[in-house]
């Protein structure tokens, strides 16, 4: 009988234990509902990152090539707008005009093809230190100040044409990357090794130091050298075929009897873009505008105009004056500033292009 009582008691204990488990479960389920809400988990501010990924780069290159090809085929500069702007668009528009007037006028060099160099800009988050985890996003105005962003690239299109050195610029966040400057590389030109770190490359300011000439000065002094072979600036530049051609033309125009020649050349403001090179120097691209005026010095003298000038001026000869305007693009390899006691290396011209942009004759 005493054993039977034990059985009854243990059944009661078990019942109690199960009831307790039930209560525990209810508490557990109830507890889930009251768990604190998860918070946003902002990640750490990291260092610089490339503004353009490889994938984005490929898609931009493709879009540029497609737009340029379409516009080139139609000789319609308005089709360039989405992806080609600035001097790159102006040079193309001028070439389209000449192509319309002269059947033999050359077509613009195609853009796109194999990407040989891609120096994409590096971006850093403004207003935050590396390792911080700010809960609020950067102020839109501060973020907008990380624009414009410039990106230097060399592409090689098919068909035995010269490689193109181009600068793409994203003016602001809501603009696409557009080619603003492009020039073919000169035959045999060696472009110094460019940097291609994972995080992208911060472009150099036009007045950057540490170079034999600042990027702005390099383009400015080259403009002077183009106008005068005896200018002191000319000595800073290695000889190049572009300068040879321009100086020959200048000498020929100067030699025309009864006509005087006056040439002015200026660097287009804001056109100079520089990217650092592995040797501590810079690859610099700039745009120049030049204007040459030949004026009659003897009454009755007649100047026979060249075919493109005549086409643009809509007259074959000039009796008073002939003015021609050129748009010129130049790419320079600027060496680093020399160490003490060393001689400065010359600036080399690696790419150049120009187009006759206007002509008037009377």
């Amino acid at each position: 009988m005493s054993r039977r009582r034990t059985t009854t008691r243990s059944a009661t204990t078990r019942a109690g234990a199960l009831g307790g488990a039930g209560v525990a479960l209810a508490v557990l389920l109830g507890g889930c509902a009251d768990a604190p809400l998860p918070e946003p988990q902002p990640q750490e501010v990291a260092g610089a990152y490339p503004a353009v990924t490889a994938e984005e780069s490929a898609s931009v290159h493709e879009a540029v090539a497609a737009d340029a090809a379409e516009a080139d085929a139609a000789r319609d500069a308005s089709l360039l707008e989405p992806r080609v702007a600035g001097s790159a668009a102006e040079l193309r528009a001028a070439r389209y005009r000449l192509q319309e007037l002269l059947p033999d006028a050359p077509a613009p060099s195609p853009l796109g093809g194999t990407v040989e160099r891609d120096v994409v800009p590096a971006v850093t988050l403004p207003g935050a230190q590396e390792g911080e985890t700010p809960g609020r996003a950067v102020a839109p105005a501060e973020a907008a100040a990380t624009f414009p962003r410039a990106w230097t690239t060399i592409t090689q299109a098919d068909g035995g044409v010269a490689p193109q050195l181009s600068v793409l610029v994203q003016e602001d966040a809501r603009s696409p990357y557009r080619v603003v400057t492009t020039t073919p590389l000169l035959p045999g030109a060696v472009v110094p090794e460019t940097l291609a770190p994972e995080e992208g490359v911060a472009p150099l300011a036009p007045d950057a130091g540490g170079l034999v000439l600042s990027p702005q000065d390099a383009v400015g002094q080259y403009a002077s050298a183009l106008g005068d072979p005896d200018a002191p600036e000319a000595a800073r530049f290695a000889d190049d075929p572009f300068r040879q051609v321009l100086l020959q033309e200048r000498a020929a125009a100067d030699a025309v009897e009864f006509f005087s020649l006056a040439t002015s050349r200026s660097v287009r403001p804001g056109s100079v873009v520089a990217t650092p090179t592995a040797d501590g120097g810079a690859l610099v691209v700039g745009v120049m505008e030049s204007r040459s005026v030949q004026a009659v010095e003897e009454d009755g003298a007649v100047l026979t105009l060249s075919e493109p000038v005549a086409a643009l001026a809509e007259t074959q000869e000039a009796r008073e004056s002939a003015a021609v305007s050129w748009l010129e693009v130049v790419a320079l390899a600027v060496p680093p500033a020399p160490a003490d006691g060393e001689q400065a290396q010359p600036v080399r011209v690696v790419g150049a292009d120009r187009v006759l942009s206007g002509a008037q004759a009377r």
């Binding site: 988990q41 988050l125 973020a143």
Partner: protein, 262 residues
């Protein structure tokens, strides 16, 4: 033997009845608890099984001005472990664009544009929204879908959905219409949720054991009750017989009783 003495002294019928009732109550309690436990365990894995994903919605109501853009604040996409699925819905069925970009790029895109900022969870299912203040200037915003800035873009009519593993770094999500129309009205973030029912198996097993015990107890009690009934009948018969016989019978029975309880 003490049992012999007990049986003789206690009024046999009433004591046995009390024992039987207590036993049956224990059986019933065990059975009910067992059934409840099994039921709870099964329910946990079926009808009460939590969803394997958890969503939160941000609704832009418009403050001083209707937002043209909606962006997430840093870390909002990562509120819960990913991958996160984002769905933007526009009530008017117009175009919807979702774009993932670096914090700098998304922030720069919103410069001078009335923008709603989606913050953290306000409750289990809703996200805080910071509506734009009155716009100082109105800016023409192009269609974000065609921008070079984004690493991932999804578009749709009426709604767009993007599933993403937020990469390392500070990434924000931008939701917009085609730029000229008002931003999507609703942004829904859905994260996966690990479903755990740690109590289900112990409940089912425990409940099963309790049920089994109840059955065993029931059998034992049923047999005990039958024996006691038999004994009661036998005792009634014995009272009419001689004292000597009774003595010997009782000795035999006490032995039986001992065996029975074992």
């Amino acid at each position: 033997m003490p049992q012999t003495v007990d049986v003789r002294r206690t009024p046999p019928v009433r004591a046995a009845r009390r024992r039987t009732v207590a036993g049956w109550v224990a059986v019933a309690v065990l059975a009910v608890l067992g059934l409840v436990a099994v039921g709870l365990g099964v329910a946990q894995r079926t009808v009460w099984l939590p969803d394997d994903q958890v969503s939160a919605t941000a609704t832009t109501t418009g403050g001083d001005v209707d937002p043209l853009l909606v962006v997430t604040a840093p870390g909002v996409l990562e509120t819960r472990p990913g991958p996160v699925t984002v769905t933007a819905t526009s009530d008017d069925g117009g175009p919807v664009v979702l774009a993932l970009g670096h914090e700098v790029d998304v922030a720069a895109w919103t410069a001078d544009v009335p923008t709603a900022v989606v913050g953290g969870l306000e409750s289990e299912g809703s996200l805080a929204v910071e509506e734009p203040a009155a716009a100082a200037s109105s800016v023409d915003v192009p269609d974000p879908a065609s921008s070079d800035l984004w690493t991932q873009v999804e578009t749709g009519e009426g709604s767009a959905t993007m599933r993403l593993d937020v990469p390392e770094g500070r990434w924000l999500l931008l939701a917009a219409s085609d730029g000229s129309a008002a931003a999507p009205d609703e942004l829904r973030l859905t994260w996966p949720q690990e479903v755990e029912t740690p109590a289900a198996v112990p409940l089912v097993v425990g409940g099963g054991v309790a049920l089994l015990l109840a059955v065993v107890l029931a059998v034992v009690h049923a047999r005990a009750s039958r024996r006691r009934r038999d004994r009661a009948v036998a005792t009634a018969t014995q009272t009419t017989q001689s004292t000597e016989t009774t003595q010997s019978t009782e000795t035999t029975r006490s032995t039986e009783t001992t065996g029975e309880t074992r």
